[in-house]
Symmetry: C2
Subunit: 440 residues, 2 copies
């Protein structure tokens, strides 16, 4: 699966692509949707390179592409990532090869493409594609176990967990992009000792550290993908903050699952890192000894050989006071995407196994990706033991749940011997006070 | 709320609009998306009148409209119902008035509009608008009680039921229109006495009788609708068959709710009957004595006065054998939408109460609308006591759950003293055998 685009010796004529710690070297080339900040222009598709964005509409006009490359660029040039996703893995790989060559140091394309760059700090980003359906899974077994323990100390994992990739449908309309500012939701909740429920601003507002997977071509209704097509089909990944109102969730979720506790907003990082860029960071997928092996429809040799993804994830918090004090966000936890109990291919294969049609640009959340130790909780619910043990921050502030003005920053980074490290780009979101008129 | 469009003395120059038992008299005027069957044309918007469809693109070109009417028709003329929904209740009422006048017997518009009709039996219908998000509620308290009893005989209704309009996100991509043929889904399930789950064709395939509500203008993220705007905002209704794989559902639904047990297909009736057409069939909304009153954010004087809808619902079944024997579908049950525990306005108000943005064309399912007696179950699960007591059909066949070749027909009909009866148009769906390659 590795090819010349992963060669660590190759550098870009965009100098910042070689900056230490950059998320976007020549080996990454993720897709995002943007416009020049404040321009009010129509949204355009671009590829991140160092601290710049290559504008794909301008790049297509600049010429020098083969006929096939120009055809792949066509939907991107009109700002339509979904139509490019629908072209499938051949287009995804073909365009990656072309862009990697065009952006390589010494490429004759530099002369025509240098004018097609926009500095990322002059861009405003948008959700990268149309999301027709959003499904959130529950692949973080450490999260499921810790949260389960809060409710059922003797039986934290339900009997289906190791057999079924548990998931549920999420809300598309309120998905936003990094920088999203979310009003604290108002809702209905009931204290355990209260006789009747109350209605008011959420008191237990939380983040959840997830990854978001975008579907490529998908499948027709009634025609499951199967593991082999699923493995080829997923387009790429981003970070996903699945903001959660824990008090609302506890009261509403029986028997049909979370609803308003989640649908007030979900935040994505703006860049989709393709499965090709992630190829050097694939790992064997194994189950702990004694656990059941996946049923045949969720199993394949390729999945066992390299189904897992080695991505280091982290969450940092910057409170309003920290911003005033000039303090940077404080990292609260680290985990790794490789700890997920199900692989990306298994999610697509399971989702389509009943005939449900996946469509280009559909979003699949991983579920909260906590690590195995208590300090690696992927949410405040876990890190504070259900709000009972506050975190103390470096500036002395304490948090059980999020306060107004808090900014949450998710990050993801891939490193491997012999490979150039890549990152997912940050995912930021800030909590605004509840809407006053409704909080009465 | 009643106006001249409801006057029972008014008739249409389309004769079939006066046919006894028609769902589509002049007083109805529902919206649907269609094309001439087999034409491969782009989809168009139309309004049902008797056994005909008024083609709104053709009608706009035919002229004779005021400036405002022509503006309202503009998005409809290009097949875009969502954009018309976004114009809000003034447009919805204004166009209703104009169409009611134009289609009335004696109207001078007859000369130009007669050529804009297509017989319904020459049309193929489509899902009427783009559905950005689909939410399924659980307003049928008799359904919730009966199903709850199957699991918890002593405590059928969970403590939140009478406080929270319970709902969950559903799958948009697999929503189809009347006539949909659904492959029996394949899935994972576990018999109570089995050690491990199996994977294969669903053995407990069911229908659910629901209504689908379409959102009108909706609300911006972070800005709840509130009850008054919610009451004005909902655009109209159709029938919805929420096909359900009960064996898959039982195994997968803990703790995040139904997922693949529902997402293989959902079928809508093709015509959206507007809230204006339903005005004569509104009833006071009351709670049984001793039940809690809705919290203030789910309460309004208008909702108490006329929040409920008097719509008689029914489900009929035609098996493959019945089709061969020339037997019509056999009615299995009747219920009434007025038995729902929450009103349409309450669903919109609750859904947006956390700031979640509803968008034009979003679909809200009512949940299964069973009646109060055992014979009024809105699903086979209820009518057969969880599959333990088969139904015997008139031709001697028995059913616990659906067999391949079964066609399910939902119907809805509104009658009231002094009003012309209207109907929702039928919602048909047929079960195809499971996909062979996957059933191994």
């Amino acid at each position: 699966m590795l090819d010349f685009t992963h060669d660590p010796a190759r550098q870009s004529w965009v100098d910042s692509a070689q900056a230490p710690g950059t998320d976007f070297p020549l080996q990454n080339l993720p897709f995002g949707r943007f416009r020049r900040a404040g321009s009010g222009q129509a949204l355009r598709m671009g590829v991140a390179i160092g601290d710049q964005i290559l504008d794909l509409a301008a790049a297509r006009v600049a010429g020098g592409w083969t006929e096939a490359e120009a055809a792949w660029l066509q939907p991107l040039a009109r700002g339509d990532l979904n139509a490019f996703m629908a072209q499938g893995p051949v287009a995804r790989r073909g365009l990656r090869h072309a862009l990697s060559r065009a952006l390589e140091a010494g490429s004759p394309a530099q002369a025509r493409l240098a004018a097609c760059l926009l500095p990322q700090d002059q861009a405003e980003m948008a959700v990268p594609c149309h999301i027709g359906d959003y499904t959130d899974f529950y692949t973080g077994i450490h999260h499921a176990t810790t949260v389960g323990k809060l409710f059922r100390p003797d039986n934290p994992l339900l009997p289906n967990y190791k057999w079924v990739p548990i998931g549920y449908h999420g809300r598309c309309s309120s998905i936003g992009v990094s920088g999203q500012q979310l009003r604290r939701p108002i809702g209905q909740f009931k204290a355990p000792d209260a006789a009747v429920p109350s209605y008011g601003p959420c008191q237990r507002l939380d983040w959840e550290l997830e990854m978001g997977v975008f579907v490529g071509q998908g499948n027709a209704l009634g025609e499951p993908l199967g593991m082999d097509r699923a493995e080829e089909d997923w387009f790429g990944l981003c970070l996903l903050n699945d903001w959660s109102a824990r008090d609302v969730q506890a009261w509403e979720y029986q028997p049909l699952g979370p609803f308003l506790s989640k649908s007030f907003g979900s935040t994505l990082s703006p860049w989709i890192v393709t499965q090709e860029a992630l190829a050097p960071f694939r790992r064997p997928f194994t189950r702990p000894e004694g656990d059941p092996q996946p049923l045949p429809y969720l199993d394949s040799a390729a999945n066992r050989a390299h189904g897992a993804l080695d991505i280091t994830l982290s969450v940092a918090l910057q409170t309003a006071a920290m911003r005033e004090q000039g303090l940077p966000p404080q990292v609260l936890m680290h985990s790794n995407a490789g700890d997920a109990y199900w692989t990306v291919a298994q999610l697509l294969a399971h989702h389509s196994s009943n005939g449900c049609n996946l469509q280009p640009g559909d979003l699949l959340g991983s579920g909260t990706l906590s690590g195995p130790t208590p300090a690696q909780g992927g949410s405040l619910l876990e890190l504070t033991l259900g709000g009972k043990q506050p975190l103390t921050l470096a500036n002395g502030e304490q948090r059980c749940f999020l306060q107004d003005g808090d900014t949450v920053v998710l990050r993801g980074r891939c490193e491997a011997p012999g490979a150039v490290a890549i990152g997912l780009g940050p995912c930021l979101g800030t909590v605004l006070p509840a809407r006053h008129a409704e909080s009465a």
